[in-house]
Amino acid sequence: MTKAFLAILVTAILTENFLLSKFLGICPFLGVSKKLNTATGMSMAVIFVMLLATAVTYPINKFILVANDMAYLQTIVFIFVIAALVQLVEIVLKKYIPALYSALGIYLPLITTNCAVLGVVILNVDNGYNFAQSMVNTLGAGLGFLVAMVMFAGVRERLESCDVPKFMQGLPITLVAASLTSISFLGFTGIVEGIFG
């Protein structure tokens, strides 16, 4: 049992990394990875929202959509629910945990409609996971997001002090660096079968 959960977790973090293997959530990956602390802040917000979104959309999917044979409404209902949820969380945080609000503040609205959040929710459904499995997979996806962001922030901080040719400065060199980081994650292929299989 634990082994199965661990396998899901490691798969989500390493082999099926959301940013570097599935290419979901590329916008924050390129946008807020300039500095380590913003990258961490963004990732924390993503983990938080992903977990929350999974916890809320799983029962909605199971008891309302699937029960009424309306699974085709998943995308629209999920976007809807996640957006409302993030707004609510923002209000609650502002009132009760202002410190966390100012730490996540700018990132929360940014990830409201991020495809990584919607992606993890829909993939949970597609993979036929139960509630516990969904939560573990979501946690893994979030942690994988954090790992990729922190790694890439490190790469970009090194890039800052490099003498990059003028035509490659800015986005071009960032994309090259992103593709190389992505290739490095190919090395994890088969690692889960090796450990847990």
């Binding site: 309306m70 209902v77 409302a84 009760y96």
Partner: protein
């Protein structure tokens, strides 16, 4: 039931529930917003440069609104105009902000200053300074890799001939470059008054300075003797002008053998001649 109607109902119900939830939450958990601070914040330039000494414009607005500070003249990018506006909102006294601009105190361009090494490391003044005090002979002068350019929120700084130059008309006196410069070469000067300025901070003895840079202050004391207003002082072989006492008569410039001292009125410098100062 018709599945289309059912779908419409389900989505609408979820929408209505979400809407009610949000509406209730926003009323129940409303956080009182400081309206005064919001209004002050709107009047501030919004560059978050930190010239006021607070953590950006929001910080200054909050401090003014809460009465932590009563000084309305701290925003140098905004100047007297912003001071007047925020004073009206906060119910405080307005003041005049004497417009200032930053100046790089170095003339050690490729023509004047020699180099002692070929530097091919990271293009950063901070890094280059750690290696024998930078590539130029003079360890006091501008390194010219433009750390200040990155720091400037107003895009007012450019490198001309190996030395950083600040466009006084674009400069808003936020001091970001002053904090960044590893050599401490940049300082603020009055914008609309002609003042003498020593464009050098070399503290080596005169003979050594001569070898290092053609435009370096050699500490010969001629300007001190020429000044009728006691505005120039020489300390550690380098002259310094007291801008409060200086009237910009230009006598020091006339006697200076290396022309390290010059009379500048920043506000009148045409963009083309920024290269020269």
């Amino acid at each position: 039931m018709n599945p289309i109607i059912l779908a419409v109902i389900v989505v609408s119900v979820i929408g209505v529930i979400a809407a009610i939830m949000l509406a209730v939450a926003s009323i129940v958990m409303a956080v009182p917003v400081d309206e005064k601070a919001e209004k002050i914040r709107e009047e501030l330039p919004g560059a978050n440069c930190g010239a006021c000494g607070f953590s950006g414009c929001d910080g200054y607005a909050a401090a003014l609104s809460k009465g932590e500070t009563t000084c309305t003249t701290l925003c140098s990018p905004g100047g007297s105009e912003v001071s007047k506006k925020i004073a009206a909102i906060a119910g405080l006294e307005a003041g005049t902000v004497a417009p200032q601009a930053a100046v790089v105190l170095c003339q050690g361009n490729a023509h004047n200053a020699g180099t002692k090494l070929v530097y091919s490391g990271v293009k950063s003044c901070k890094m280059a300074t750690q290696l024998f005090g930078g590539p130029k002979d003079c360890v006091y002068g501008c390194v010219g890799f433009g750390d200040c350019i990155d720091a400037c929120p107003y895009d007012a700084i450019h490198i001309c001939d190996g030395v950083a130059r600040i466009n006084p008309l674009a400069c808003r006196a936020c001091k970001a470059c002053i904090k960044t410069c590893p050599k401490g070469l940049i300082e603020l000067m009055p914008l609309h008054q002609a003042k003498a300025a020593v464009l050098c901070v070399n503290h080596d003895k005169g003979a050594l300075t001569r070898k290092e840079c053609k435009a370096g202050c050699i500490g010969c004391m001629k300007c001190v003797k020429a000044c009728e207003y006691d505005a120039v002082k020489v300390e550690n072989f380098c002259a310094k002008v007291d801008y409060d006492k200086c009237i910009g008569c230009g006598k020091c410039h006339e006697v200076c053998p290396v022309k390290a001292i010059d009379v500048i009125e920043l506000g009148k410098i045409a963009l083309k001649s920024i290269n020269r100062i």
